[in-house]
Symmetry: C2
C-alpha cells in the first residue's frame, strides 16, 4: 500500500481528502493527475472538548507540500470558516498558490490574509457562476448553489480522466431570500456529460424529506416582531447574510432600527453591504453606541453568540457584561440557530441566564426560527438523479452520515462499491469504470495552539493535558550533592489542581517521609546513594509517591520528580 | 436575610432545595416545621465537562448537619441515581436517619450501602403505595406513578401548615408496560384536600402535547426483530426495567435468548428479577460466556452504554474491546435512549464506530425506540388541574424549563407570584395564603473526587485544572545558597502539556537566560541577592518567564517556580 502513494497509475485521477471526509468541517480536497494538482477548499475544524487548549485543527499539508510546485490553484466554494479558515496557515507552506473564489467569498478571505500580513503574497482571482476557468489540465465550471451564505458555488471540473462534480454545502432552496436558487439546469447538463465522480456533502443524510426554504424564517420573524413590546435581540451566525437580510426586512416593516453587534457580525455586515449582498435603507443600520437615542420598541439587535460561545455578544449580554445591551425584562431574544453537536450545554446555559434576567426567549426547532443550509435525504437523492455519476464520495459528515448516504444511494440502484466511504487521508484513484481506495497518505491532525502550527501540539501533549486536567500535578523536588549523592535539601512537595496541601499536612509529611525512605534505601551507609543515576532516582520517587497518594486519596495526579545535583 | 435562616416564623413550613431546583438531577429537599425535619430524596448530579476530574456532585449537607437530630427520615421516590446516589455519602454525616422506599427502590439502595459498608448502620423501611406513614408531625401517603423505572411513587405529605404534594419524575402513561399507571384517582383526592404546595418535575416543559406511552417501544422493537438477520444489541439505561422487559418479551416471541451485558445492567436485571419486577421464562436469560453456544439470529444482547460512556459495554463493543461481543457486519444495534444534553458527541462517536465495523444502527427520535419518562406540557397542566395547589415550585429542570412551566401555570390562571422559581439553597416559607422565598442557605456544590467528599475539591482547584488543561505547566527549579542567596544549581526547566521542550532548545535556553538575568538583577555585586525573600523571587521568576513564553508562543502555561535553599 505505501508504495502506491508515490507511484500513481497512468491515466488515473487521484483524489484525496486532507480533511473533510468523515468529519464535519475540515474541508480540503486534492485532485491530482500526472504532474498537476488542484486543491478544493481549505477549511479548519474546531476542536472537540477533549482536545484541551487547542484552538483550531488544520488539514495535514504534507501531501501538498511535497507537490507544491505542481499546484495550479485553490478553488473555494464559499466563505464559511470550515472552507476558508486554513488558507492563512497553509498558503505560506505551499509557496502561495492562487486562490479562486466568488466576489463575497474573496471579500471574506481578504481580512484573514490581511491579519496574517499575506495580502500582497496571495493572488486572489475572481470567478463567477457560469464562467469557465482553466488551471493546468483542469477546466473548472462554477455554478450557483443555495446555502446559508450568499454567493456559494459548486464546481464541474473536467479532468483528463473524466468529469468531476464537487457539490458541497448546498440545498435545493427554490425560494431563497436572495432570489438566486440552486442551478438545477447546470446540474442536469453536467449529468448529461456522464460525470466520473461526484463529491457531495452528506451531513443531513439522517433527515428525511427536504430542508425547508430559508424564506420560512421570515414568517417566524414576522410573528415575533408583531407582538414584541420591548427590544428584540436576534442571535445567529455572522456569516448567515440571508438571515440578517430577513431581520433587516422585518425590522423595516415594523419601524425598528437594526444594530449589528459582535465583532464578526459587524465585519460581515459591512463587507456584505459594500459588495452588494445585503440591502438596507439608509439609516436603518445603527451602531450599538446610538441605541440610547431610541425607545426599546424601535430597536432590533442582530448579534453573534448563537452557539453559546462564552466571549461572543449573546453570552456577554446574558451575563450583563456587554456595554450597550444589558438584558432586562421586556426583551425578546431569538436564538436563530441550532446548536452544533457539542455546543448544546453552552447554548442552554445562555438561555437559562436570559430567562433569569427576565427576557422572553424564542429558541428550539418548534419555533421555526432556524433552518439548515444543507440538503436532506430527498435532495441528496435528487442530486444523484440529476448528476448520475459513475462514482460518488459522500463527505462533510460523520461516518454515520456517510453510511446512511450509502444506503440512500444503493436504494436508487447504485452499486455499493461505487459509493466510496473515505476517511481523511485516504488516497483514491479513478478512471473510466475504475474507482478505489488505493492507499493511505498523511492525514494526521494538525493543531493550532497559540501561534504555533503543527507537530508542536502532539497527541502526547494532549494526553498530558488530559491527565493534568483530571487529577492535577504534584512535584517532588530534592537537591543532592553531585559528588556524594547525599540529600542536601528537600524533599519539597508542591502541587496544583490536586488537593489543598495546606489542609493536608499529614499527606505532605507522609509523602516526604516516603521519599526520604526511598532515597535512604539507596544509601550505602555512608550517606551516599549507591548510584547517581538520576533517571532511576526520579522513576523511583514517582512510583513510591504515586502509590502512596493513590492509597490515601484514590487519585492519580501526574507526579513530576525533580532531582537537582548541587 | 441571613438572620431569617435560623429564625423561622411560627406556624410556617420551611422548604429548601439542597439540590434539584434549577438543575436536572441533584434532588434533595428539606421540609422543616418547628423542630422537625423531613428529607425527600438524596440524589447526585453528574459533573459538567468543565468540572475537570470531578466524579460526582452532592447536595450541600450543611443545613441538614446543623439539624441532624431533628430528621425524622429520608423518603425516596424511586431508584434512579439522581434520587438515591448521595445516600452513602450524606447518611454518615447525618447520624444515619431512617430511609423509606418501595421494594424495588430499597433493592437498588442496598448494594450502594453495602459497597460503602453501611448496611448495618442504616434502617431501611418499606413503604407501599396506598399506605400511610407517620414521621414526627408529618404524615406521608405514597401513591404510584409511571416513570422509566418501576415502583416509583409520589408523596402526599400532611404537615401542620398544610398539605404538600411531592410529584417528581413521572408521566401519565395509561398503558404502561407493567400495567400499573399513574394513580390519577389519588391525585384528584389530594386535590380535594386543598394542597398548600405542589413540588413538581418540569424537565419536559418545552415539549408540547403528551409524552408517548412506554408501550410504543414494543412496536418499534417488533419491527426491528422481524427483519434482523444476525445478532441484535439493544443499549439502554440499566435502570429502565420496563425497557428490558420489552426486550425480553420481544426476544421470546422471536425465539432469541437475552444476554444482559455491563455491570449495572447485570446487577439491575438480577435485583429486579429477584424482587418480581422483571418476568422472564426459565432459560431465556443467559450469560455472555454462553453466547458461543447459539447462532447469531438466536441472540439479543441488552447492555449499558446508551450515553456513549467510554467504559460501558456498548462503547467497548464499538472498540472491539468487549470480551464476548465483537461488533461485525450483520449485527443490528439499537440505541434505545436519547443523549442527555452534553453526551451527544460521545454517543455519536460510538454510533460512527459501530457503522465503521459494518453494523446496522437504529437510533434517533425518528425510530421511536425511546420515549421519555417525564411529563410533557399537557400532562403538567393536567396535574395542576387535578391537584389545584395554592403554590407550586417547579424543579428538576434547568432555569428555562422552570420559566416555561411558569408560563404554562399562569396560562391556566395561576397567579405569577404563586409559581415560585427557586434556585438551589433558596429558603422558602409557606402557610395558608403565604408563600415566599425568605432567604438563602448553604447551597454550594460539593464535589466527590476519588474518595474525598466536599471542600477538598474547591473552585480554586478546578480553576487550576482548567488552566493546566489549556496550556500545560512549566516549572523553573533553582537552588540557591541559603546564606548568600547565590545560585548554586539550575535554573532547570521542566514542562508537561505545554510543548516539546526537546524540540525547542532555543525556547529552553532563552527561558533559562531570562531567569538568570532576573536573579542577577538581585545581585548586589558580591554574588548574593539583595534579599532572600523567596516569595518575591518566585513571583519575579513567574512574571518574567510568563511574559517570555507568551511572546514566543502566544500561550500561557501555568508557571511554577521552585526555589530551593541549600
Amino acid at each position: 500500500m505505501p508504495g502506491s502513494i508515490c507511484c500513481m497509475s497512468k491515466n488515473r485521477l487521484r483524489v484525496i481528502p486532507l480533511g473533510g471526509a468523515g468529519e464535519v468541517g475540515r474541508n480540503c480536497w486534492v485532485l491530482e493527475y500526472g504532474d498537476d494538482v488542484l486543491v478544493l477548499d481549505m477549511g479548519v475544524l474546531f476542536p472537540e472538548s477533549e482536545m484541551l487548549g487547542v484552538d483550531l485543527i488544520l488539514p495535514d499539508p504534507t501531501y501538498l507540500q511535497e507537490r507544491k510546485a505542481k499546484i495550479h490553484g485553490v478553488f473555494i466554494s464559499h466563505g464559511h470558516e470550515d472552507h476558508i479558515g486554513a488558507l492563512p496557515y497553509l498558503l505560506p507552506l505551499l509557496d502561495y498558490p492562487d486562490v479562486y473564489g466568488t466576489k463575497l467569498t474573496l471579500g471574506l478571505i481578504q481580512p484573514k490574509l490581511k491579519e496574517h500580513k499575506l495580502l500582497d503574497k496571495v493572488d486572489r482571482k475572481l470567478i463567477e457562476p457560469g464562467g469557465k476557468y482553466v488551471a493546468g489540465p483542469f477546466t473548472i465550471e462554477p455554478f450557483h448553489i443555495a446555502h446559508s451564505i450568499p454567493d456559494a458555488v459548486a464546481f464541474g471540473i473536467s479532468t483528463p480522466a473524466g468529469l468531476v462534480v464537487y457539490l458541497t454545502d448546498w440545498k435545493f432552496d427554490h425560494t431563497p431570500v436572495d432570489n438566486w436558487p440552486t442551478d438545477v439546469t447546470k446540474m442536469a447538463e453536467l449529468g448529461r456529460r456522464n460525470p466520473l465522480l461526484l463529491l457531495t456533502d452528506c451531513v443531513r443524510a439522517e433527515a428525511p424529506g427536504v430542508t425547508p426554504s430559508e424564506r420560512v424564517i421570515g414568517t417566524a420573524f414576522d410573528n415575533i416582531f408583531a407582538v414584541a413590546q420591548g427590544r428584540i435581540i436576534v442571535a445567529t451566525f455572522a456569516s448567515n447574510i440571508s438571515r440578517v437580510q430577513m431581520v433587516i426586512d422585518t425590522a423595516e416593516a415594523y419601524g425598528r432600527k437594526v444594530v449589528p453587534a459582535g465583532r464578526s457580525m459587524e465585519n460581515n455586515v459591512r463587507i456584505a453591504q459594500e459588495l452588494g449582498y445585503l440591502r438596507a435603507p439608509d439609516g436603518l443600520l445603527i451602531r450599538p453606541s446610538q441605541m440610547a437615542e431610541y425607545n426599546d420598541d424601535e430597536l432590533v439587535v442582530v448579534c453573534t453568540g448563537s452557539q453559546g460561545e462564552p466571549m461572543a455578544a449573546l453570552a456577554r449580554m446574558a451575563n450583563r457584561d456587554y456595554p450597550h445591551v444589558k438584558i432586562k425584562s421586556g426583551d425578546t431574544v431569538v436564538v436563530s440557530a441550532t446548536p452544533i453537536p457539542g455546543n448544546e450545554t453552552s447554548v442552554h446555559k445562555v438561555i437559562d441566564n436570559l430567562y433569569r434576567l427576565g427576557a422572553e426567549v424564542v429558541y428550539g426547532s418548534d419555533s421555526r426560527i432556524h433552518v439548515s443550509g444543507h440538503a436532506a435525504q430527498e435532495e441528496l437523492k435528487m442530486a444523484l438523479a440529476l448528476l448520475r455519476p459513475q462514482f460518488v464520495i459522500p463527505f462533510h459528515g460523520d461516518y454515520r452520515h456517510m453510511a446512511i448516504y450509502k444506503k440512500l444511494a444503493t436504494s436508487m440502484g447504485f452499486q455499493p462499491d461505487h459509493v466510496i466511504l473515505a476517511e481523511t487521508g485516504a488516497i483514491m484513484e479513478f478512471s473510466q469504470d475504475f474507482g478505489e481506495i488505493v492507499g493511505k497518505g498523511p492525514g494526521g491532525l494538525i493543531y493550532v495552539d497559540g501561534t504555533a502550527i503543527g507537530g508542536d501540539v502532539s497527541n502526547a501533549i494532549l494526553r498530558d493535558r488530559q491527565m493534568l486536567a483530571k487529577d492535577g500535578i504534584l512535584m517532588v523536588v530534592v537537591s543532592v550533592d553531585s559528588a556524594t549523592g547525599k540529600v542536601i535539601a528537600g524533599p519539597d512537595v508542591v502541587s496544583r489542581g490536586f488537593t489543598h496541601l495546606r489542609q493536608s499536612t499529614d499527606l505532605i509529611e507522609t509523602t516526604k517521609q516516603r521519599v526520604r525512605e526511598s532515597l535512604n534505601g539507596n544509601d550505602d551507609g555512608n550517606g551516599t546513594t549507591s548510584t547517581m543515576d538520576l533517571t532511576y532516582l526520579q522513576r523511583k520517587i514517582r512510583d513510591i509517591v504515586g502509590e502512596h497518594l493513590y492509597q490515601q486519596t484514590r487519585r492519580r495526579p501526574m507526579i513530576l520528580p525533580v532531582v537537582m545535583e548541587v
